[in-house]
Symmetry: C2
Subunit: 341 residues, 2 copies
DNA sequence: AATTGGTTCTGAACCGTTACGGTCACTTCA
DNA sequence: TGAAGTGACCGTAACGGTTCAGAACCAATT
């Protein structure tokens, strides 16, 4: 009898002892968690859906921070955290259907991701992160447009007018190279789209022709990708005075490429990132810091007490411009660099 | 009918279409994963039990590496990974009972941990990591004794005879300070016990009185802990020529404490770590590298095809002594250091 | 002695799925 | 034409708990 295990007060100590005793003698391993979940309609876990391969989440510092925050919230609530094995390469959403969870957190997936669609069809509460507001589910994120816009304005005030941009993947297909305006506009990764738009708006206001600004995309989010993308931009237009990267990881790669070319950062080239990861801080990167841990925690909290609410909530966290040592005014005489190293 | 969803070949396309159509019309959200799990006796997930608070796993680079490897293995098998919220402070093992999983991976918990006991009572396959061989369950780990022994011998060959040791927590109770021989022997964390024994054996062989070697323990595994522990050892015995730390994190703290005291590493003081995390490599730390990612992956693989085996397996991975820049022969004239900074 | 109140204990219904075996219509072959 | 074979379809019984209604029991009150 399940009362013996779960409601010791509902029966006499004597009977409880006897029940437990015979249970042990018969080798009964205790109540089956799955059957319990079926009956109580509670799985005791929340599912996490990621853009990338599961293992990637443990390689990206920003994702790790998010996970830590989410784990913190789950821990507080005594809830488990299920990492759903959703391989973005395959369209197989079975893993989403198989997940026995009380709710989902969806972290930074493209807005046309079939896994996201599968999650939204499940009759459980959902929180999306770094996604556009879907209207009917909770959301947590930052104002990517505004944050990047203010970083761009900072560079503009330093005097930069000729820039290049390195961004993360914009859609599910691999496009390691230049990005057309059309592709920018239709990007399926909300975060990247917003950040690019933020830059475009700021520079547009001071008369820069956005269509002429080289924007290079990389599918893989690694330091090596950042380096090769920076190389591609610098090869195309050696006269740029600033390279804006949409993540710190990419920016770190850009820094190493600049170093390799003998460019003095920030005097020959300004490099900026986004996220505010620890490695960026150590490198003195000018960037935007976003509260990744807090984001994870907010997502968890939002999900875990979504029962009380009926209207979906949207939480926007604040960001902070970090003025580091990798941004400065461009050299007064641009031509100087024609004779550079 | 579940066949419509799961076995399209078992029925005609026409019927399937009709079934799905009415299902949609009735707002049927698809087969319930929990009920399915109950019926098929498959949860489609493995549980991970950690020593620490869940969130800690995302702060320790070695743990992150392990997680990445484990996630990789799960991903390959299309299995989910459930992080079980087992708070080590409380004795509440309910979370273990509640976890709907097909097996458990237990990562580096004390051998008297009640959560571990609860896992072993569950009738599912289990893999323990960094634990002594339990005989009846799979195990994956390294030879901590031998690895630390060879590091110690390296220091001995450099000429060190007077040393201090900084180690991680040895049991569930907090003991931030010196460690008695008795506490060393009865340590509940197998890994730490083995590493200490490895050092003791090596130095014992060259006539060092182990009982006189200051061993300082820290409960929290942080760089700050490493620094304060190093300070404690150096205050007690400023004449030591080497400080052996049982983890890289602690060693990084020891390095910063040495720097703070104006000690030249390695000439005034040799500092060593254990794990081989990236930060250690950047710092040029002399340490032992263990394949953390491979460890996680091995654990996952072991668990996921444990069905085929009947005998428990024990996998021991190899380690590698990393000779960095933080270890050197002690200054020929020890007294010199009396006049040091 | 009968009614009432309260507690402890028992049994049955239900959660939603899948596995399994049986029914039925329809084809094939003697 | 009838027997046997084939395949699609459907009904039902678990899976292992939790919950809840009500039976059984005991003590106290009328």
């Amino acid at each position: 009898m399940s009362n013996a295990y779960n409601r010791p007060d509902q029966l006499s100590p004597e009977l409880r002892r006897r029940v437990l005793e015979t249970a042990r003698r018969l080798g009964y391993p205790g109540p089956d968690p799955v059957a319990r979940s079926l009956r109580t309609r509670k799985a005791g876990a929340v599912g996490l859906l990621l853009t990338e391969n599961l293992s990637y989440a443990f390689r990206d510092p920003a994702a790790i921070g998010f996970l830590e925050g989410l784990a913190l919230a789950c821990e507080d609530a005594g809830t488990g955290l299920l990492l759903v094995p959703a391989n973005p390469e395959r369209e197989d959403v079975a893993a989403v259907h198989r997940a026995g969870v009380d709710g989902f957190v969806v972290y930074s997936v493209p807005d046309d991701d079939p896994h996201l669609a599968a999650v939204l069809e499940r009759p459980v509460p959902t929180v999306v992160c770094d996604q556009p507001d879907l209207g009917n589910v909770d959301r947590v994120g930052i104002d990517d447009h505004a944050a990047m816009n203010s970083l761009a304005k900072h560079l503009i005030s330093l005097g930069h007018r000729r820039i290049g941009v390195v961004c993360m993947r914009l859609a599910r297909d691999r496009n390691d190279g230049y990005v057309s305006l059309e592709r920018q506009r239709s990007a399926h990764f909300h975060v990247q789209r917003a950040r690019l738009a933020g830059i475009a708006e700021a520079f547009g206001e001071v008369g820069v022709d956005w269509a002429a600004v080289p924007v290079v995309e990389r599918f893989d989010h690694t330091i090596a990708s950042g380096a090769s993308a920076a190389a591609q931009v610098l090869d195309r237009d050696p006269q740029i005075t600033a390279l804006i990267c949409t993540s710190d990881i990419l920016a770190l790669g850009a820094l190493s490429e600049a170093r390799k070319r003998g460019l003095n950062v920030p005097h020959d080239l300004t490099v900026t990132g986004f996220d505010g990861i620890r490695e960026a801080e150590q490198a003195g990167l000018t960037t935007v810091r976003q509260p990744v841990l807090e984001k994870g925690r907010a997502a968890g909290k939002l999900l875990l007490d979504s029962a009380e609410r009926t209207r979906p909530r949207s939480v926007t966290l604040t960001t902070e411009l970090v003025v580091g040592a990798t941004a400065a005014s461009p050299r007064g005489v641009v031509e100087e660099r024609w004779f550079g190293p």
